[in-house]
């Protein structure tokens, strides 16, 4: 009988905890976020108010929720850009079912069913058939948007029953302060951060993205792990879509146009690598918040859209280049 190794246990403290902490990408991001907030707080007198800060959290909730899914797909070594059309598509069953049944729960179930179906299709095509996931999800991005236009005849579908619960979901505030979407986003962030760090499946996602061959040898079902990542991403985009639909009070066919770029940019800014296996939800969340606060702050300063675009583009290049330089020096 081989000797059991579990009899010996003594947890050694990592000797270089501080050094490892300093190397963490998240610290740099947090400092950047604080710098952004400090800058706008000085430049605008309406920026640093509870009302505005909580507003931004509520606005950031959508990219945060969808960003969790996109980050998970990135971590597994794939890409998902279909979410922009998906947030618009799932609102159709959501609103139509609510209009027909006056049931919030049934509407949500319908939305989740569509989201699940899209995730399954993306996952099957990319993970099981092995088609490049950028192509697959670019394809579903087109197909879903076209499908939404075809189905709705390019008209928004209004929410005719106006359920209070549905309205409150996206528009209400917890204790009158924190917007509900922000609360939901934080809960999901914590849950998925736990999932990625402390559940074996979460680690499998990293392993599969970091080195699929190794993951396969370790007995992981690489395809299944990636498949699940796509499903998770689609379901989270569905939740983001439900929140958006509540804020819009309808299924709007043009909702989410360009949302995928916004989320992908934030996720990459947050240090989640396009090549898989690297990144954290904390980084992703900081990336989303930085871009959201910049957008809000520039708006507060009355900066025109064109400058906002130029500045945001510049930030993305600078941040990713900085990250790369840091990595090369390390």
């Amino acid at each position: 009988m081989p000797q059991s190794v579990s009899s010996l246990a003594a947890a050694p403290a990592g000797p270089s905890l501080l050094r490892r902490l300093a190397r963490r990408n998240e610290i740099a991001l947090l400092l950047s976020l604080l710098a952004v907030i400090a800058f706008f707080a000085l430049a605008s007198d309406t920026f640093l108010t509870t009302r505005n800060l909580t507003n931004v959290l509520g606005q950031a909730a959508l990219p945060l929720v969808a960003g969790i899914g996109v980050a998970i797909v990135f971590i597994s070594g794939e890409v998902d850009v279909s979410i922009g059309s998906l947030v618009a598509a799932i609102a159709i069953p959501l609103i139509t079912i609510m209009n027909a049944t006056e049931s919030f729960a049934l509407g949500v179930a319908g939305a989740l069913a569509l989201g699940l179906a899209v995730g399954v299709v993306n996952g099957y095509l990319a993970a099981y058939l092995g088609i490049n996931s950028l192509i697959v999800t670019l394809g579903t991005l087109f197909i879903l948007r076209g499908g939404v236009y075809l189905y709705t005849g390019q008209r928004a579908i209004p929410d005719d029953v106006m359920l209070e619960s549905f309205f409150q979901l996206g528009n209400g505030r917890l204790f009158g302060v924190v917007p509900h979407p922000a609360v939901i986003a934080v809960i999901l962030l914590i849950a998925f951060a736990y999932f990625l760090r402390h559940r074996p499946f979460g680690r499998q996602l990293y392993a599969v993205g970091g080195n699929p061959e190794v993951a396969r040898l370790a007995g992981y079902n690489v395809r299944r792990v990636k498949f699940v990542a796509f499903v998770i991403s689609a379901l989270l985009a569905t939740i983001a879509g439900i929140l958006l639909a509540s804020r819009l009070g309808s299924a709007v066919h043009v909702a989410g146009l360009g949302f995928e770029f916004q989320v992908v940019a934030a996720v990459v800014l947050g240090g989640v690598s396009l090549s898989g296996g690297v990144g954290s939800l904390a980084g992703m969340a900081l990336g989303v918040l930085i871009l959201q606060f910049v957008s809000n702050g520039l708006g507060m300063l009355n900066i025109a859209t064109e400058w906002q675009l130029v500045i945001t583009g510049g930030i993305i290049i600078a941040a990713v280049a900085f990250d790369e330089l840091k990595r090369r020096r390390a």
């Binding site: 309406t46 108010t49 009302r51 505005n52 507003n55 509520g58 606005q59 959508l62 236009y149 005849g153 390019q154 008209r155 928004a156 579908i157 209004p158 929410d159 309205f167 996206g170 528009n171 958006l244 509540s246 804020r247 819009l248 009070g249 309808s250 299924a251 709007v252 066919h253 043009v254 909702a255 989410g256 146009l257 360009g258 949302f259 957008s295 809000n296 708006g299 507060m300 009355n302 025109a304 859209t305 064109e306």
Partner: protein
């Protein structure tokens, strides 16, 4: 500043304003305008009109651009409410998508004016009548066709099904033209995306499929110009062709009317006037005055060199002739609205 002084101050500013301005009312200090697409020429001119009017009245006007993103529009309105503006003006990216926003504004007693499209639960809206605009242009096109095109009207509509406003324009145009030429036909009904390159592309394909067209209608200037360029690119002569544009928001249509023999009718929608009217409406709503649900901003077809009445061009800047534009009488009520589409 006491309330009295505020009133006095506002009054003194208003005194210096144009005749017809809301005189001696309480002026809002700050108006926030969430525009759906600020980089578009149409809205640039709306904003220009708003800024002119707000400056006259001594009001601060701030603009946030949704840049065609419904989520960003809601965020922009939220930000304005957090900033504490006195009145909100909104041009919805999508009219259904701002219903909850209106509800929240109402809950916070935030006066709100819509521009463009009606929304469930609104107080008032400033808008042109899209159907009427198309209709009157259609009537003018019909008359032109009787005189110059032998009474034949085969129309290619370079449309945009995405928006109810643009659908109404197309419908109005066809209805209008039929009052003059009952046998007018719609040969092609296209989605030109409202942008010039897409309009050019789909028009090229459509003209190749069936070139038996003698009138090109565009729901905006990009669409009509895209259609015309497709015609030219197909190597066709402009003899016997009529191009009708809508909007009249920039220099493009003026350039076309000056240089293209077929570009004869432009349905002017005076975006500056829309902005002007919206600010006036905002002041009224701020003061709790009764306002009609739909405040109509005038439109009119401009035929041939008519545009010179309303606009003057110097170099690359265009300026509006307020006297002439303020003289165009708006309809009291639209012939058809988005509600009629359903």
């Amino acid at each position: 500043m006491t309330k009295l002084m505020k009133t006095l101050f506002a009054a003194s500013v208003a005194l210096g304003a144009l005749a017809g301005a809301a005189a001696a009312e309480n002026m809002p200090k700050k108006i926030g305008y969430v525009v759906n697409y600020a980089t578009h020429e149409w809205y640039q001119n709306v904003i220009k009109g708003m800024k002119d009017r707000a400056a006259q009245l001594g009001i601060e006007l701030e603009v946030k651009d949704a840049n065609l993103d419904v989520a960003k529009q809601v965020a922009g309105a939220e930000d304005f409410m957090a900033q504490g503006v006195d009145v909100l003006i909104i041009t919805p990216v999508n009219e259904e998508g701002v219903v909850p926003l209106l509800r929240r504004a109402k809950a916070e007693n935030m006066p709100l004016v819509l521009e463009g499209n009606p929304v469930k639960g609104m107080t008032t809206m400033v808008a042109i009548c899209d159907y009427d605009t198309g209709y009157h242009a259609g009537v003018a096109a019909g008359q032109y066709a009787k005189e110059h095109l032998g009474g034949v009207a085969k129309v290619m509509n370079v449309g945009l099904p995405l928006l109810s406003a643009t659908v109404l324009r197309s419908n109005g145009f066809m209805d209008g033209i039929k009052t003059e030429i009952p046998e007018a036909t719609l040969v092609h009904d296209l989605d030109g995306g409202g942008n010039p390159d897409r309009a050019l592309e789909v028009s090229s394909a459509a003209l190749a499929q069936n070139a038996d067209v003698n009138i090109i209608y565009g729901i905006n200037d990009n669409s009509s110009l895209g259609g015309l360029q497709a015609w030219k690119a197909a190597g066709k002569s402009q003899d016997g062709l009529l191009v009708v544009g809508t909007g009249g928001e920039g220099l493009a249509f003026i350039n076309a009317m000056e240089t293209e023999p077929s570009y004869k009718i432009e349905a002017a929608m005076f975006p500056e006037k829309v902005g002007f009217t919206a600010v006036d409406a905002a002041v009224k709503v701020f003061n709790g005055e009764a306002v009609p649900e739909h405040i109509v901003s005038p439109t009119t077809p401009m035929i041939g060199a008519d545009w010179k009445k309303y606009y003057s061009v110097e170099g690359t800047t265009r300026s509006i002739n307020w006297d002439a534009v303020n003289g165009v009488k708006p309809a009291d009520k639209c012939m058809k609205t988005a509600a009629d589409l359903k």
